[in-house]
Symmetry: D2
Subunit: 140 residues, 4 copies
């Protein structure tokens, strides 16, 4: 493992994201995490669009969400996204979501993506452009 | 463990659920699984509303999704939901999502919910109404 | 005006589409209507993908929704979509949404789309492929 | 008409809100507008929750959206929400959505809500608590 990359985003809870009890619906956390992953990825040029332009896709194969405390309307969350380099041909992200005001941990979202070509064929090794990116990246 | 309960639902993919590449966005699987869980729960009177009327909530604390193959616009999925009785005070569901036409396994969604009172206090043992339900249920 | 085309689809309300009061959130009606429009469009080969392959896009410029009665969890809706041919270079749809069980009118959704090229330039006349489609279509 | 109330909110476009062509899906504008309406309503204590606590609901009966220019990922919108007092028992909002960077008008969203009691019965005149609010409000 070469190292990690980190990035932090801030997202306000929207009115339509809370349910009848005033709590954010659990399904929304996947889009919050995707927002944080994509922001990190754009900074390092490994976002969906860039990967697609190189002839590959990175579908999610595994997702784990742990919920620790709720968010309500009016809250703002801070998401710390971490990209973890993997020896195998995978993209691994771990996002920690915090309540901005209370600093409480709200949830963690771990995801694993694999590489396929544009026809959906699984790539067992990193595509060349991505391997080159790994070599040139200034890892933390 | 007393046993399990099962129920199957059928859900057509909607046009707005597929992304630019024609594939269902990964986040939608959480609502598909919720649909299947709720349908099973309504049949056995352990749905959100019924639980709330008894003075409790069942927030999701853990969620695991494994993606095996994609769904596209025009596909219909079959979801087999399984409720697994737990000795601890938890609700555990495992949903298997299949492509109706090809029978291919599309994804599995495992979820764990805990019991809280309406103020959000965690219940370490099953609430009485739910314990009674466990005793009276005709488990598979 | 050359005439109209019609198509009917059936959509069950999903659990996550109802709000705290058990009523479908008003914003979901736009995706219901899109589902019906797209189903009609696929049948007549004027769906988004087909139009895009011909080098054009059809962004929505106007949308009107009238809500007549609510839908709740467990309801199924019937949507009658009507495509109205326009002398001007526009796509006009009118969707009527009914409660399948009660036959009550739930909502109407009217939409207007224009043609642009792939760079977003507005087309003041019908693109050739679409004009040909209009001539060859068996209008009701 | 007694006057108007205004409020402005700022909302960043989220990654999952853009479609294959990089454009915000038209249906999302309804939640953007709701966010702006609710923010204004909370400031003036006429939000959904406050109205419900007084024994009434305010379902949307009419919605009109005009799209002028697109939003893409990375854009932030500014929404100017206007509440227009009505002589009839209705809540009328007009929201103008602008691109924060370019100042371009993106869309306008007009909505009409009526008052019902908690059983859904239409109110032909303003409820007392709301009439009192109208009298006491410092209209622009």
């Amino acid at each position: 493992m070469k190292g990690r990359l980190t990035h932090t985003v801030e997202i306000p809870v929207r009115f339509n994201e809370v349910d009848a009890l005033g709590i954010v619906w659990h399904g929304h956390y996947l889009q919050y995490a995707e927002e944080a992953r994509e922001a990190l990825a754009v900074m390092h040029q490994i976002n969906y669009l860039h990967i697609h332009e190189n002839g590959y896709m990175v579908p999610i194969v595994k997702m784990e969400v742990d919920h620790k405390s709720p968010l309500t309307y009016g809250d703002t969350m801070i998401i710390e996204a971490v990209y973890l380099d993997s020896p195998a041909a995978k993209m691994i992200f771990e996002c920690s979501i915090y309540n901005k005001a209370t600093k409480a941990l709200v949830a963690t979202v771990k995801s694993i993506q694999v590489f396929t070509d544009l026809k959906g064929n699984l790539q067992l090794t990193y595509p060349d452009f991505f391997q080159q990116w790994r070599e040139e990246t200034d890892w933390e």
